[in-house]
């Protein structure tokens, strides 16, 4: 495969313009040649496809009853076709707005969707993933309150907590177990890692009483179709993972972080933000705005170093939300909810103990009558990935609209053997 369009004649003409006789001569003029490079022979496209396909076949995607930060919702066919269009796929960051009105409008729509779903006032044009979004929210809170304490409620996704801790260690913030005058923010996930839907009211009051910001974290945002919004509860910041909106599980990435805030925090938002404006004839258009917040202008005064966002995934989510719309998304949420409740009910009749202390959305915790590794291994033999082992023989099980009645019955029949 060769993406270099030059012929030998082109190369020699260009070399003479530049004043060298060979490519080696040109390059060695300034780059000292050092050790040799040992890579395999180049592959043709055909050979490459064969090689990578064989690697892909050493993996076993199967029927998933697993969430834990990654959700197997149905992805409508349209999405791939639109997102693969070269004008979207191969475009650069929209710093030159005249060349990028398409991407800019999509990001504006994305920002709008996130605000509508979360009940917040302003959103940015995406962050790397849910975990780093939590960390960025903590940084934002620290910059706003000028405090260093970070309080984390129980039930935060353990991977998000690890990432938060890593960021805190590096940036000298401190994860604490009290809410007091040193607390910059209070972070709570709902539905939490174990599926529990929480009413954050009490915690929000406590945070605000100490002038700390309340950060709500969401890992399956299809839940927002049926749950009361964090904005209505009084959250100051909402962060989360947008993978559930039309993005395949793809072994963990690339995913889609999002952040939305109340009005008063607008200028503290990290990352890229799209705004609508006009030209001098009054024609409407979109631009990246409030860029002075960002690292390339603020440099050492920036509160975050973030550059790249996840535009193509934001585009994916926007198209997903447009396709499903109000009725489609409610449908997905209801189906996910009902399937999970059905499976939990059936499992509790065959010796699994339901552990959730609160109502749940599409993930629930059960204690299994046999060792959980055994349960998971048995199910795997039938190409079913039955849950996440969270220790102590407890399984974290998830359902989406893709888990049909017959799948649930298969699951139950395998584990009841």
């Amino acid at each position: 495969m060769n993406f270099i369009p030059h012929t030998k004649e082109h190369i020699s003409k260009m070399l003479s313009v530049v004043g060298c006789s060979t490519l080696d001569e040109l390059v060695s003029e300034f780059i000292p040649r050092l050790s040799e490079l040992n890579l395999d022979n180049p592959m043709s496209e055909m050979e490459l496809v064969s090689y990578m396909t064989s690697l892909s076949e050493k993996n076993s995607p199967m029927k998933y009853f697993v969430g834990g930060g990654s959700y197997d919702h149905y992805i409508p066919a349209v999405i791939n076709h639109l997102v693969s269009r070269g004008e979207f796929l191969t475009s650069y960051t929209p710093y030159q707005p005249e060349a990028s009105q398409g991407v800019l409008q999509v990001l504006y729509e994305f920002q709008s969707f996130i605000c509508l779903l979360t009940g917040m006032d302003v959103s940015n044009a995406s962050l790397y993933d849910g975990a780093s979004a939590v960390a960025e929210a903590a940084l934002l809170s620290s910059a706003y309150t000028k405090r260093k304490g970070v309080f984390v409620d129980d039930g935060l996704n353990p991977a998000y907590l690890k990432v938060l801790k890593t960021y805190c260690d590096g940036t000298e913030l401190c994860i604490t177990n009290t809410i007091d005058e040193n607390t910059a923010c209070v972070i709570s996930q709902t539905p939490d890692f174990y599926g529990n839907i929480k009413n954050p009211h009490g915690l929000i009051e406590k945070a605000h009483a100490h002038h700390a910001l309340f950060i709500n974290c969401i890992s399956d945002p299809t839940s927002l179709a049926i749950l009361k919004t964090p904005g209505e509860f009084g959250a100051d910041v909402v962060v989360g993972e947008g993978q559930a909106f039309g993005i395949p599980t793809s072994f963990g990435g690339p995913y889609l972080g999002f952040i939305a805030v109340k009005q008063f925090l607008t200028k503290k938002l990290p990352g890229r933000i799209v705004g609508m404006t006009t030209d001098d004839q009054g024609n409407e258009g979109f631009v990246l705005t409030l860029q002075a917040r960002e690292q390339f202008i603020r440099r050492e005064r920036a509160t975050s170093n973030i550059t790249t966002n996840q535009t193509l995934l934001a585009l994916t989510a926007t198209i997903y939300l447009a396709l499903l719309g109000r009725s489609g998304l409610q449908n997905v949420a209801r189906a996910s909810y009902h399937r999970a409740h059905l499976l939990q009910e059936k499992l509790s009749k065959i010796g699994f103990e339901a552990i959730n202390t609160s109502p749940f959305y599409n993930e629930f915790l059960v204690k299994s009558p046999k060792p959980s590794e055994e349960i998971i291994a048995n199910l795997m033999e039938y190409n079913i990935f039955g849950g996440i082992d969270v220790g102590d023989n407890r399984l974290l099980v998830c359902c989406t609209e893709k888990n049909l009645l017959q799948d649930i019955n298969s699951y139950v029949s395998v584990v009841s053997k």
């Binding site: 200028k267 409030l290 860029q291 002075a292 917040r293 202008i297 603020r298 005064r301």
Partner: protein, 126 residues
């Protein structure tokens, strides 16, 4: 009101009773371009001379504004949060930024006079 004094970093100060009013100069607002936001310091906070007191953002740049004297912030121009363009339109009047209670009023005397400041900006074009 006393005459204005100036700093090398393009701030102006004006004495008013025991406090001083601080803003940025016409030259500074022109260099910055259209200002889109300002971060105001907290009332009650203290700064030493030349500490970074606040940051002004224009569309394509972000600039530190330095505290001209040792002192405590006693009032900030909250109007600027909604209307940062006042700094461009009226840098000496409605675009005032903070009021400070100086710890060492003698520091004011060693700042630049209007003539000295005009000379500075007449010379130096960055």
């Amino acid at each position: 009101m006393a005459e204005r004094k100036f700093t090398k970093e393009h701030e102006w100060i004006q004495k008013s009773d025991q406090i001083i009013i601080v803003g940025i100069t016409e030259f500074a607002q022109d260099q910055l371009g259209d200002i889109v936001s300002i971060e105001l310091p907290q009332v009650g906070s203290s700064f030493k001379q030349n500490d970074v007191m606040t940051i002004i953002d224009s569309v394509k740049a972000s600039s530190d504004i330095y505290c001209p004297v040792d002192g405590e912030i006693i009032e900030t121009n909250e109007n600027l949060l909604e209307h940062p363009e006042l700094i461009n339109k009226s840098p000496y009047k409605e675009g005032w930024i903070v009021k400070i209670k100086p710890n060492n009023p003698e520091q004011i005397d060693s700042l630049l006079s209007k003539e000295q400041y005009d000379e500075l900006v007449g010379q130096g074009k960055e």
